[in-house]
């Protein structure tokens, strides 16, 4: 099983550029999440989805957008990239949203210069 697959692993953007971080899971999980991790700050929830067609904001959603057209895929869109969005981004999934373990992807290291 592939689990949670994220692409790309690394990316450098210029200020103002846009990009989409891809996330796919093959475990038929209903819940999917996007987190960002900054040094010494832990993981902050950006957006989450409880199923296809349903998304909601997390703790730090500004500057990001998401969509969930299928159970498997949950892309994260950065519009007008800013240096403050330099971070490591993790996608995760779980079968349900209530006290279930999260399965994480391998992460995307993004630098905005």
């Amino acid at each position: 099983n592939a689990g949670v697959t994220q692409t790309p692993k690394f990316r450098i953007l210029k200020i103002g550029q846009s990009m989409t971080l891809q996330c796919a899971q093959d475990m038929n999980h209903n819940y999917m999440y996007w987190y960002r991790q900054d040094p010494g700050m832990g993981l902050k929830l950006i957006y989450y989805s409880v199923g296809a067609g349903i998304t909601d904001k997390g703790e730090v959603p500004n500057g990001y957008n998401v969509s969930r057209s299928t159970t498997e895929d949950f892309p994260l869109r950065l519009e007008l990239a800013a240096p403050s969005q330099t971070s490591v981004y993790f996608c995760a999934s779980s079968y349900s949203g209530r006290s279930e373990k999260l399965f994480f992807g391998s992460g995307t290291q993004l630098s905005v210069l």
Partner: protein, 110 residues
């Protein structure tokens, strides 16, 4: 509200024991523990639920004190592979999302 983890860092020799803590000022529904090695994704260790239920790693020991809103992770007879950053995540209700602490760096030396 972000849980508070302590201590900030732990350095051990192989075979030594350690306790790391996670506390909250709000009533907790559950506490989750994850370990992350440098450059890798966090990996699930354990979930402790209000009422005493636990899910997770058979070789990991943890406690959840509901009165103190605190959880402790017990690492006994530490191995080199225990090195990494340990994060706790807390849920405050059945419909709340996980809020992670800043993490504790644990280093096990030979």
């Amino acid at each position: 509200q972000q849980p508070v983890q302590s201590p900030q860092a732990v350095i051990l020799r192989e075979g030594e024991d350690a306790v790391i803590n996670c506390s909250s000022s709000k009533a907790l529904y559950s506490v989750h523990w994850y370990r992350q090695k440098h450059g890798e994704a966090p990996v699930f260790l354990m979930i402790l639920l209000k009422g005493g239920e636990q899910k997770g790693h058979e070789k990991i020991s943890a406690s959840f004190n509901e009165k103190k809103q605190q959880s402790s992770l017990y690492l006994t007879a530490s191995q080199l592979s225990y090195s990494g950053t340990y994060f706790c995540g807390t849920e405050y209700g059945a419909n709340s999302k996980l809020t992670f602490g800043k993490g504790i760096t644990l280093s096990v030396r030979p």
